[in-house]
């Protein structure tokens, strides 16, 4: 299948085998420009493996992943990020020994200067253009009070939010979210949904892996259901809700 213009991410018949275990079997999936696409499935369905294949952590055993017509297979994580794919992790990955502000400045710097640029003596602090924009971005997302704190000292929820800010300031063409509300309390989940809805309305293409059906059904334009490494259903939320296979594999299990 030839990737058309409005297809951002084209996952082309991807297989991934770990020592005989089929983590992904013939996963075929297109992410369209501007949509929020949720990938759901029970534990061990292959959701995280799929995401790892997309960002270059794991090479697919077979098949390929195309991003705006560029093949991602074989590219390093930094190359994929430089193409415009930002990822937010399930367990927050931040620079814990740097301040919250510096974390965001780091994200902005690589967006501006690329993967490597030797700038030995120019001053880089909150006075500069990047510093000022980083402060604004943090204030906009409710982290204004933590700007000068060490990122490692933030609460888990705030670390997640910081990661989201780091992703957004890079103005990515595709945002990959790995269970953004896992382990969050209801109130915080709702706050996160609100933030994500704003991001979605800005026109960004989002892929979200999520366990929480409330989150999925409040945000997703389309949903892909994985089970046992295979795509068992795909469609708009209403179709998925009514799909007996999905209910059997996943939703049913939750209701028990």
């Amino acid at each position: 299948m030839i990737a058309t213009n409005d297809i951002v991410l084209h996952i082309d018949h991807v297989h991934k085998t770990f020592a005989g275990l089929h983590a992904l079997a013939d996963v075929h999936l297109d992410i369209r420009e501007g949509e929020t696409h949720a990938i759901i499935g029970p534990n061990g369905a292959g959701k995280s493996t799929l995401l790892n294949v997309c960002v270059g952590v794991l090479p697919p055993t077979q098949g390929k992943v195309m991003f705006h017509g560029t093949e991602l297979t074989g590219l390093k994580p930094y190359e994929i990020n430089q193409l415009g794919v930002a990822r937010v992790f399930q367990t927050p990955e931040i620079f814990g020994d740097l301040t919250v502000l510096e974390n965001v400045m780091m994200a902005m710097l690589s967006h501006r200067d690329g993967a490597f640029r030797l700038k030995l003596v120019s001053r880089f602090d909150e006075q500069g253009e990047i510093g000022q924009r980083a402060i604004q971005a943090l204030r906009d997302r409710g982290l204004g009070g933590h700007i000068y704190h060490l990122a490692g000292a933030l609460s888990r929820g705030d670390k997640r939010r910081l990661e989201l800010v780091m992703g957004l300031v890079q103005k990515p063409k595709l945002l990959l979210l790995d269970e953004p509300t896992a382990g969050m309390a209801r109130a915080d989940t709702n706050a996160t949904i609100e933030i994500l809805r704003q991001i979605k309305e800005s026109g960004m293409t989002i892929v979200i892996i999520e366990h929480d059906m409330h989150v999925v059904f409040s945000l997703a334009d389309r949903i892909t259901v994985l089970a046992g490494g295979r795509v068992i259903a795909q469609g708009v939320p209403d179709e998925i809700k009514g799909n007996p296979k999905v209910i059997e594999a996943y939703l049913g299990e939750e209701q028990v």
Binding site: E102, L109, A115
Partner: protein
């Protein structure tokens, strides 16, 4: 922690320059006010400042930096032999050659991290050391050491008709106090460069690598060229120090490359405070002081010092203290190093900061949560330093919140 302002950095550099300039006055009371020793402080200070750019910022612990110091020395002596007795060509040759060697060693060693990186660098340095004694004897003059001879060609000097018996800088001979002030000026310049690097995008990137190298890729950075640049820069600082060593004592021997010399710069940096600006210089001063002053004490001096004690006691005291000075100075240094690592993991700088109350290392796992959170057991606020007023207030607020929550839950 706000970023340090530009003004504060300039003040730090000026303060540093003043201390270096007043070195002879400051160090005389503790018996270190003579040019040879102060010169050593300055030269090894440059070495440690460079090492700190690699180890302090990226956390990559090189155990082979003495190789670059040694190569710098050899390059400088060769420059004195072939080109000119002037320091400038020697410095250029040393820095370039050390940088090239660092590029080669770093390129291979940086394929690994952690202990494997350290072992690779150690292996390369020992290889250089052994080669200097064996196959490279024509270049290094083996165990005798490479020395400047009267009848060396010195093509540049010959062309200008310039004759100088000693290494010099633009006509100033690098001996005595002139020698110290030349080295001191280079030290101040190196310190200024280190401040600039610490505050640059490059410096922040290196700190980010130390903090979470895994995250670098997902943030769009290719870590390897950053690490290699840091490695080469620190190698060049070592080469610079090596050329100054050769200039103050124009005899280059392979022992400068031995692993003990590599270990010494690690000790200096950790003792003073890795990753801090001033720490490596302080650590250098302390270690070189111990090496030169403590090791010089002998039994007679001790007996004289404790002359006021009664006969029986005096001998016992002299015997005991004798263990820690003279030959035993390394014992003192070892104990001091252990004490610092155990009680002040951030080195002397951490001790100074604690004394001045400049920076508190808050013992916090979490700064508490944003208003939306209702904290499922995540409201962990541990003890903070008692003088931290704001933290106290935060804690109170958190306690109040908890109390309110309990009230709300109670029927």
């Amino acid at each position: 922690m706000k970023h340090t302002s530009k003004l504060a950095d300039i003040a730090l550099l000026i303060g540093f320059a003043i201390v270096v300039a007043l070195g002879p006055v400051i160090f005389t009371p503790i018996g270190a006010g003579y040019p040879d020793l102060l010169q050593k402080f300055a030269i090894y200070g440059i070495f440690a400042i460079g090492f700190n750019i690699l180890f302090g910022l990226t956390g990559y612990l090189s155990f082979g930096h003495a190789a670059f110091l040694g190569v710098g020395s050899y390059a400088a002596v060769w420059s004195f032999k072939l080109l000119s007795m002037d320091l400038l060509p020697a410095v250029i040759a040393s820095v370039l050659l050390a940088g090239l060697l660092a590029l080669a060693i770093g390129f291979i060693s940086l394929r690994r991290s952690g202990i494997y990186f350290s072992i690779l660098t150690l292996a390369f340095a020992q290889m250089c050391y052994n080669m200097a004694y064996s196959v490279l004897t024509p270049i290094t003059n083996g165990e005798t050491g490479l020395r400047v001879l009267r009848n060396d060609p010195r093509h540049l000097d010959a062309a200008f008709g310039y004759v100088s018996p000693m290494p010099s800088l633009l006509g100033l001979q690098i001996t005595g106090w002139t020698g110290f002030y030349i080295c001191g000026a280079v030290l101040v310049a190196a310190f200024g460069l280190s401040i600039a690097i610490f505050r640059s995008p490059f410096g922040m990137t290196l700190r980010a690598i130390k903090s979470n190298q895994n995250r670098m890729g997902y943030t769009g950075y290719s870590s390897r060229p950053y690490l290699l640049s840091a490695f080469v820069i620190s190698g060049m600082f070592a080469g610079l120090a090596g050329s100054l060593l050769a200039a103050t004592d124009p005899l280059a021997g392979a022992e400068r490359m031995q692993w003990t010399a590599s270990g010494e710069v690690v000790l200096m940096t950790i003792l003073g405070g890795a990753g801090t600006l001033l720490g490596p210089v302080l650590g250098t001063g302390l270690i070189k002081y111990f090496e030169n002053i403590f090791s010089a004490y002998n039994e007679q001096q001790l007996t004289a010092m404790f002359a006021f004690l009664p006969d029986g006691v005096r001998e016992a005291v002299v015997k005991t203290t004798g263990l820690f000075v003279g030959e035993g100075w390394q014992l003192t240094l070892g104990l001091l190093f252990m004490a610092v690592v155990i009680f002040l993991p951030g080195g002397i700088m951490e001790g100074i900061n604690r004394l001045l109350g400049l920076k508190h290392t808050p013992k916090v796992k979490s700064l508490g949560d944003s208003p939306q959170r209702d904290g499922l057991g995540e409201m962990v606020i541990e003890e903070m330093p008692p003088s931290h007023g704001a933290a106290e207030a935060d804690k109170k607020v958190a306690e109040q919140k908890n109390a309110e929550k309990k009230r709300a839950v109670a029927p």
